[in-house]
């Protein structure tokens, strides 16, 4: 039993249940408990990160059933990284709530309980090593996110939540069908076993497996808000409370994470140039070009949205779309470099967009026009908030010297390398047919230009037009400390770009190789091996609610 793997799940689940049961608790106390839960999760996540940095893969059997049947939790570099990001965001969101002047979450009693359950779902999705449990945790985090999304009430939120629920439920159905198709041909749901068995499929089984993989791609692309499956994102994110929206910055990344795990199941990228693997039926699926095309469309839609947005929060929601497009453009290259660059950008963009959501919450609380992009008096503490906005804008647009620039440069380089390598070696039909690097460069750089235009317009409107505020900045939250902490990640990410990019590089290699992951899971031994007599009675192979 590895405590580091259990803690990120057990802590928020237990805390969430406790908060539900004791919903009459004073708000201060709820916030303190919630903050402590997020801190504990962050501690465990950092522990896993340290373990994985040494190349270890922590894995544990839940319920102690032997390997092909039991529930496995495993944390490789990718899982540890995503988990750390999640709990860091949660920490910032709760800190923002605790410091802000308005009791934003007072309008409903269960805010912190839902927040903890959301963290439970996210942690589970990142740690599970089983496709069906991934589905279960997706549902957990989605149900919690519906609750958080409608928090505060209002017609706009109800409407956005309704659309969000309908689309995600259809997505869940597709996800489950994909899982069932894969089970029908391979007889397993464990990610480790799947990556072993998929390349060995007989030709007559390939169509069903391919259907399953494509269905999963569709379901994950919906979570990642890849155009044309993006329609739910902007209304939902711009209607949600600011701390909720900040936490939701990780939600699209869950889709990206799942897509990466799916990639790891298939021979792609470098592996496809290997002639024997390129002959596999699974390698001929057009998943990579589909994602590459979707990423370019996402970039276009997101960038145009940023320019025309009439509201600050809508603008940041479109910035999330742009960032999803950018990082998937890198990931879709399929090479280790592409995935590494995309993941560096993922760290950057998750923290910065969340920071921007928190920042504009503070800004619009001090403005007469709220979040609307119309001239009004400047917010109190305009100098500090303006400097922060400039920092966030430079970072998210990808201008030097901040982390966005480093990430975009890495992605552009990786896309070009992959495309050149693909054409030189005459790679398999899998990777060569996507848009080539000129198109990706145009999309990424063009979207950068549009984002710069949109953000400059917003910044001038907010801080230069209109009279200075006569109000004095008051309250502990007036200088946006939580947003400052998140936005400060950008210079740090740029400063330590080499070690972080090195980490994502080794992450990508570990993910594509897959051998360590399989070995770590297969090597698990139950503490108390079941006897033959009890083995067949009941099999707790699924981890859902009873």
């Amino acid at each position: 039993m590895n405590l580091l793997l259990i803690l990120p799940l057990a802590l928020p689940l237990g805390l969430g249940a406790w908060l539900f049961a004791r919903s009459g608790m004073p708000l201060r106390q709820q916030r303190r408990l919630s903050l402590m839960g997020a801190l504990g999760q962050l501690g465990a996540a950092v522990g896993l990160l340290a373990l994985s940095a040494e190349g270890q893969i922590a894995a544990t059997l839940i319920g102690d059933w032997p390997v092909p049947y039991g529930i496995v939790l495993a944390a490789d570099r990718l899982s540890a990284l995503m988990l750390t990001l999640t709990s860091a965001l949660a920490l910032a969101a709760i800190a923002h709530l605790s410091l802000s002047a308005a009791d934003t979450e007072r309008s409903g009693r269960h805010f912190h309980a839902l927040l903890q359950l959301q963290l439970f779902g996210l942690a589970g999705a990142f740690l599970t090593a089983d496709l069906f449990n991934l589905f279960v945790f997706f549902e957990v985090l989605l149900i919690a996110s519906y609750g958080l999304l409608v928090h505060g009430g209002g017609a706009a939120r109800s409407r956005a939540a309704l659309h969000y629920v309908v689309l995600n439920m259809v997505g869940s159905s597709l996800f489950l069908m994909g899982v069932a198709s894969l089970y029908a041909v391979t007889g397993t749901l464990s990610l480790a076993e799947l990556s072993d068995r998929l390349p060995e499929l007989a030709p007559d089984q390939a169509p069903l497996a391919g259907t399953g993989l494509l269905l999963l791609t569709g379901a994950f692309a919906l979570k990642a808000a890849l155009v044309p499956l993006h329609a739910w994102l902007v209304p939902a994110y711009s209607a949600a409370l600011a701390p909720v929206a900040a936490l939701f910055a990780i939600m699209t990344k869950v889709g990206v994470y799942a897509l990466l795990r799916l990639f790891a199941l298939m021979p792609i990228g470098d592996a496809v140039s290997d002639a024997t693997l390129a002959e596999l039926p699974v390698a001929r699926l057009p998943i990579q070009p589909l994602i590459a095309t979707g990423a370019l469309l996402t970039l276009a839609v997101g960038a145009i949205g940023v320019v025309v947005a009439a509201e600050l929060r809508t603008m940041v929601a479109y910035l999330i779309l742009v960032s999803v497009g950018t990082l998937l453009a890198g990931v879709a290259a399929g090479t280790a470099e592409g995935i590494a660059a995309g993941l560096y950008y993922l760290i950057h963009t998750t923290l910065i967009t969340a920071g921007l959501f928190l920042l504009i919450d503070v800004i619009s609380q001090g403005r007469a026009r709220g979040s609307c992009l119309q001239p009004a008096q400047q917010p109190p503490a305009a100098a500090w908030l303006g400097a922060l906005f400039l920092l966030g804008a430079l970072a998210i647009a990808g201008l030097p010297p901040l982390s966005g620039f480093v990430g975009k440069a890495l992605i552009l380089e990786a896309v070009q390398d992959a495309s050149v390598a693909g054409s030189e070696f005459g790679s398999g039909s899998g990777s060569g047919s996507g848009p080539d690097w000129m198109l990706s460069w145009t999309a990424v750089l063009g979207s950068t230009l549009l984002v710069v235009i949109g953000l400059s317009r917003a910044g001038m409107m907010l801080f230069w037009q209109g009279p200075p505020s006569t109000r004095i900045a008051s309250g502990r939250g007036a200088y946006a400390p939580a947003a400052t902490a998140l936005l400060a990640a950008s210079p740090l990410l740029a400063l330590f770009a080499a070690p972080i990019a090195g980490y994502t590089q080794s992450l990508a290699l570990q993910l594509l190789d897959g051998e360590d992951y399989i070995m770590a899971i297969r090597g698990l031994e139950p503490v108390d091996p079941p006897s033959a007599a009890t083995e067949g009675i009941a099999k707790p192979v699924h981890g859902g609610p009873p």
């Binding site: 505060g152 489950l176 041909v185």
Partner: protein, 184 residues
């Protein structure tokens, strides 16, 4: 047997898709239920369709790699376990969905999924949606009233309401904040 099963799944799926696309709140709920049923049947079939096999039997044979036919003694129990979980989740989601539809019905005043909030033009923006709130639906209607008075006091205003424009009742007369970009 196989054709009957596949046909029923297809029928449920088609009916579900049709109902979801009708965009009336209740139809959408029904449609999602049908989709869930179709999915559950599909998952159930993924272990191979078998008749007359024991559902649970000990000692267990390891499930073969290649679908159902290598399992001699019993039906594959894993899909049954999966379906059980999926049914429970689907049930919970349907309940949640019903609550949300009812909530939207009272907030927006229409049971259509694509309905605009009350009193909106053809291209309303999210920034105006807050105006449509009726007092009894808004938990802090008193605060909202305070916001709508002449003096703007953000601290007294619930931030969500502020940001959705409720504090500025004359927002709609000022220019064109709405571009309808949410609709894309």
């Amino acid at each position: 047997m196989l054709w009957l099963f596949a046909g029923s799944i297809g029928l449920l799926m088609g009916g579900g898709a049709y109902l979801v696309l009708r965009a009336h709140g209740f139809s959408v709920v029904l449609g999602l239920m049908l989709l869930t049923y179709a999915t559950n049947l599909f998952v159930f079939a993924s272990g191979g369709l078998q008749v007359g096999r024991a559902p649970v039997q000990a000692p267990i044979q390891p499930p073969a790699k290649t679908g159902g036919h290598a399992i001699e003694l019993m039906a594959d129990p894993l899909p049954q376990a999966l379906v059980l979980t999926a049914i429970v989740i689907g049930f919970a989601m349907t309940a949640l969905m019903l609550v949300l539809v009812l909530r939207a019905l009272s907030d927006i005043g229409s049971e259509r999924v694509d309905a605009q909030p009350m009193g909106m033009g053809t291209a309303p923006s999210e920034s105006q949606a807050g105006e449509a709130l009726s007092d009894q639906e808004q938990p802090d209607a008193g605060r909202l009233k305070a916001c709508q008075s002449d003096e703007f006091q953000p601290d007294e205003c619930q931030s969500g309401a502020c940001q959705s424009g409720a504090c500025q009742p004359d927002e709609s007369q000022l220019g064109e904040p709405q571009t309808g970009e949410e609709e894309r």
